[in-house]
């Protein structure tokens, strides 16, 4: 009850934040068929700026941090990523009228992580003055890659069974490589490494950090426009996906919160870190995951998983679950 009240007040707050407003504006703009297009080069640059900022800050935090403190949360991320997909495979994927490979592709994306949701929650926590360990967002790949791999493996086992009943061997290494070579993780990793081994403070302070908020707004505008386009593709897709898009992030986030709380008790992960972990778990991949899934599960219908993730999931997380987990954290940790 208290959570809901708190959530509601945070939700109204969030609505006032331009970040969510830019997302909604993007949707409206698309719905009204406006000719506005942010140039794709700018969109790609926004993604670069955000992930580089997350990575650099992460790397600098790792440098200043205690390696052992990070180990448990990192392991938890792997578990959560795999867990979300397994959960989806025994729920969503078993529902009537659902193509199993579509469902697995979708859960893969929901197990994976959204760079933009991450950016939004960093900004929100920072502007609320809630401390979190800078390396938490950099745990991104530890949840992202296992989730995508699990989904791709399960889907391929399913398809092999369908064809021959025989067992199948999916080669994991190429998928991991594919993830790491993708734009998003490459940038994040560059950032982490440079943050760790060099002193990027001056370029961070003069460039990546001050421009963060602005580029995030623009990314949100584009995400809104994309969400609307993907939404339209969802027409005719089973309604279960809509349910999943709204319920999944809540459950995944609660799982993340739970694991985060354990890390809080065991290794002293900060309240902000717990909230961040919840949001990472809650979020779904909208940029880097879809192409990996397209290549890894070619038979799955992209309209289904891309639509569910980018069209619904991202909006749900930013509009509802960022404020929700903030509220939950506030209640649990009492701030």
């Amino acid at each position: 009850m208290e959570v809901l009240l708190e959530f509601f007040s945070r939700f109204v707050d969030q609505l006032q934040k331009p970040v969510l407003a830019f997302l909604l504006a993007g949707m409206v703009v698309s719905a009204f068929n406006s000719k506005l297009r942010i140039p794709e080069a700018i969109y790609q640059f926004c993604v670069f700026m955000l992930l580089m900022r997350i990575g650099l800050k992460g790397g600098m935090a790792i440098r200043d941090g205690n390696f052992l403190d990070m180990l448990l949360p990192a392991i938890f991320c792997v578990l959560i990523g795999i867990g979300i997909v397994l959960l989806g495979s025994v729920t969503l994927a078993r529902l009537p009228g659902i193509k199993k490979d579509d469902a697995l592709a979708t859960t893969g994306l929901f197990g994976a992580v959204s760079g933009s949701a991450l950016a939004v929650s960093m900004l929100t926590l920072e502007s609320e003055g809630i401390f979190f360990e800078g390396w938490v967002p950099a745990l991104y790949p530890f949840m992202d890659i296992p989730a995508l791999i699990t989904a791709i493996i399960l889907a391929n086992i399913h398809l092999a069974k369908q064809k021959s009943g025989s067992h199948v061997k999916v080669d994991i290494m190429p998928i991991i490589k594919d993830c790491l070579r993708g734009t998003a993780l490459t940038v994040l990793i560059i950032g982490v490494v440079l943050g760790l081994v060099t002193k990027p403070d001056s370029v961070y302070e003069s460039f990546f950090n001050p421009l963060f908020r602005g580029f995030l707004s623009i990314l949100m505008l584009v995400s809104g426009m994309e969400a609307y386009s993907r939404l339209r593709e969802l027409k005719g897709v089973a309604h279960w996906y809509i349910t999943y898009a709204f319920l999944g992030p809540l459950i995944h986030g609660l799982i993340g919160f739970g694991f985060g709380y354990i890390a809080h008790l065991l290794v002293g992960l900060s309240p902000g870190g717990v909230i961040m972990l919840a949001i990472i778990a809650s979020s779904n991949s909208d940029i880097s995951g879809p192409p990996t899934v397209r290549a890894g599960i070619p038979s799955a219908n992209p309209s289904v998983y891309h639509g569910t993730s980018t069209g619904l999931g991202t909006v749900a997380v930013i509009a509802l679950y960022v404020p929700f987990f903030l509220a939950l954290g506030g209640i649990v940790f009492g701030f």
């Binding site: 942010i38 794709e40 969109y43 790609q44 993604v47 993708g182 734009t183 998003a184 584009v222 426009m225 994309e226 386009s229 993907r230 593709e233 940029i287 880097s288 879809p290 192409p291 990996t292 397209r294 290549a295 070619p298 038979s299 992209p302 309209s303 891309h306």
Partner: protein
């Protein structure tokens, strides 16, 4: 100047499989290609989105080669990819100056 009659095969498909398609054409023996990014619409809907990984845009790959190889490439790409991926492939007659495009590479 002598002109030699040969074929151009054009493949329009999802950008996400560009590397694979190029690899196949190379394996089959084509030694050159021209590629650009295009938007478009077909059976599987429009492709005009913002793109980072190549899911939402098309590439157009053009290969000038012998008739035999052009047909092989068309068949192979169609068979391997066009069940799961959006795409079309077509052949056209061209006349080239260099003989190299007309002998099996």
């Amino acid at each position: 100047m002598q002109l030699y009659k040969t074929k151009k095969v054009t493949i329009i498909t999802e950008a996400v499989i560009l590397d694979n398609v190029i690899k196949i054409t190379k394996e089959l023996g084509a030694d050159g290609y021209t590629v650009d990014r295009v938007a478009g619409k077909g059976e599987s809907g429009g492709r005009f989105g913002y793109d980072i990984g190549g899911m939402l845009s098309n590439v157009r790959i053009e290969i000038i080669t012998t008739e035999e190889l052009a047909k092989k490439i068309a068949t192979e790409v169609e068979d391997r990819y066009f069940t799961n991926f959006a795409g079309i492939v077509y052949l056209q007659n061209v006349e080239v100056c260099a003989k190299k495009f007309c002998v099996s590479g």
